[in-house]
Subunit: 336 residues, 2 copies
């Protein structure tokens, strides 16, 4: 069992010593897959997903019985720059909506049998406006990452980290631009629906935020232009890795959290699959930078973990087919 990291330095140490997939279980799953009553490869991507699950669950017959959706909410000082179509009060209102069961993610959790954890992080204390100052101190960053760390249920067998935070596509764009380069316009999109003027303000905010950076160290970038919910998602993804819990990545903002881990260690997202590609244009670019192929492409752009939650059904189905199907020998079917 990995100890809870008490410092950013301990987090860096964890990132340099990542848990690995169980090769023997994966080899066993590959062998089993070849014996199942179907033509070779006929389940397409489901076969890859099942073998990947086998590696992280450490068994050649993986199952998804306890998926967890963990949602984190934070507020963003950068909304002062006019970057969102919604007022910042919506963050706390939507957290109440999650708690009362009225949001999209609640319906998706019920549909796919997932538990749901909601952590609102200091909503009355927005991050600093990153065009003017660092979003978070190192101490704030650590606290937020540990909210994510602590939120992961060690008994979960699949994790969907999700988020809510008015203004957070701007933060995600700044993180992406800082880590992967390009110009601000490459990484900003309409988010919840800003107009052309709002889009121009987002690009300027990203440009200004990135120009202020004194380091491209991933955790320094996260403190400078990130958000508490993004830090918490990164913490949850890292905790899941120590517990060998597979993770489904949601949209642009969740992937910006994943990008912090990826930029810290190339293999840090091996336990993650991309649940979907969203309608936020930069998500396609970011998935490319993370070298992840999305399972779904249905034009969602909601956040809340919704696209990843939708993919729980696909991942469950992959495990169920792989682990529940009969082999040719068991079923007395000619193998072709």
């Amino acid at each position: 069992m990995t100890h809870r990291p008490a410092t950013l330095s301990a987090i860096r140490t964890l990132l340099a010593n990542l848990a690995k997939a169980d090769d023997a279980a994966m080899h066993g799953a590959v062998a089993r897959n070849g014996q199942l009553t179907k033509p070779p490869g006929a389940l397409g991507r489901l076969e890859d997903v099942a073998i990947w699950l086998a590696g992280w669950q450490g068994t050649d017959t993986p199952r998804i019985q306890a998926p967890q959706i963990a949602i984190f909410a934070g507020n963003h000082g950068v909304v002062a720059q006019g970057v969102s179509a919604f007022p910042p009060e919506v963050t706390v209102q939507m957290v109440a909506n999650f708690t009362h069961g009225g949001a999209a993610i609640n319906q998706l959790a019920k549909t796919f049998g997932a538990s749901m954890t909601v952590k609102a992080i200091d909503l009355d204390r927005p991050t600093g406006d990153f065009t003017q100052t660092d979003a978070m101190s190192e101490a704030d960053l650590l606290v937020a990452m540990l909210v994510g760390w602590d939120a992961v249920d060690p008994k979960a067998d699949l994790l969907v980290p999700g988020e809510m935070g008015i203004g957070n596509t701007t933060s995600a764009a700044a993180i992406s631009c800082a880590l992967f380069g390009g110009v601000a316009e490459d990484w900003v999109g309409r988010g919840t629906g800003v107009d052309d003027a709002g889009l121009a303000r987002k690009a300027k905010a990203v440009r200004d935020g990135v120009a202020r950076l004194t380091s491209r160290d991933p955790l320094a970038v996260l403190a400078a232009v990130g958000g508490r919910e993004i830090a918490a998602m990164a913490g949850a993804m890292l905790r899941a890795r120590t517990l060998r819990i597979p993770v489904i990545l949601d949209g642009f903002i969740a992937c910006s959290a994943a990008a912090i881990l990826h930029a810290s260690a190339p293999s840090a997202l091996d336990h993650c699959v991309a649940g979907h590609v969203s309608a936020e244009a930069a998500h396609t670019r970011l998935l490319g930078a993370l070298n992840k192929q999305p399972l779904l492409s249905l034009g969602l752009r909601l956040g809340e973990g919704s696209g990843a939650a939708l993919a729980i059904g696909i991942v469950k189905a992959a495990a169920a087919c792989h682990s529940g199907m009969a082999t040719f020998a068991e079923a007395g079917v000619a193998a072709g």
Copy 2:
């Protein structure tokens, strides 16, 4: 209630007098969608699916609580032309596998809470080799279509027609080529995994089958080059239409059954959504001819209704979000 058609002529009459979606329910669903606690359009394709479901279920709050998977199996005389990688005995062996719960579709049915109906149609009496003779007489065609008609549970609120039949991608290719033109090579693929020589034999069989046709009337094409399981799927889709049960289309073979209805009446597939696009190359072309956008693209090429069954989760999620979410007013969330 529509009477069970006793003749092919009665089926033609049904195709000329199709049930229509409930416009008022769709308008109600559009209005509700605009009030839900999310930015406009943020659930992407899920929103379209929910509104489509509303039209067929006749309510502005559709639900999926009783999905049915109906699988039909048939054997094909055209296997004598060496068109499949598997021997025809596999059809009956796989039906036994369905019955015993060992196939992929059984695991998918369990994962998504669907009931499953399996109808093996005269497996000991393959269709005629359509390169030499008609696959079915008109009487055989009617019987097979009515197997499909009768298999639909009137209490189902979503239907997935699926199939098993060694050789049936060749039949599906011949139907598609007859109805939509092009050359045989446009419509044949590797199916369960034929080699290059097998692929050439498939193309020749399709060419020979289409050359024998004396009519392009869709039901005549179905009798001449179709299969019993394909006819049954067409019958099930038509029955679902009379009952206003929405349908998820599976892969190339299920879509060749859908194509018979489409070619008979342009609106005959309005109650159908394409569950996925398969790895069988001609499926992309066929979906284009049917003017259907697939929900999923995961490289499946198994049949059994598997791709459509996987999409049950997406359709369920669409209904659950639409009908279960709070409105802005209910949740006290600012509408932006």
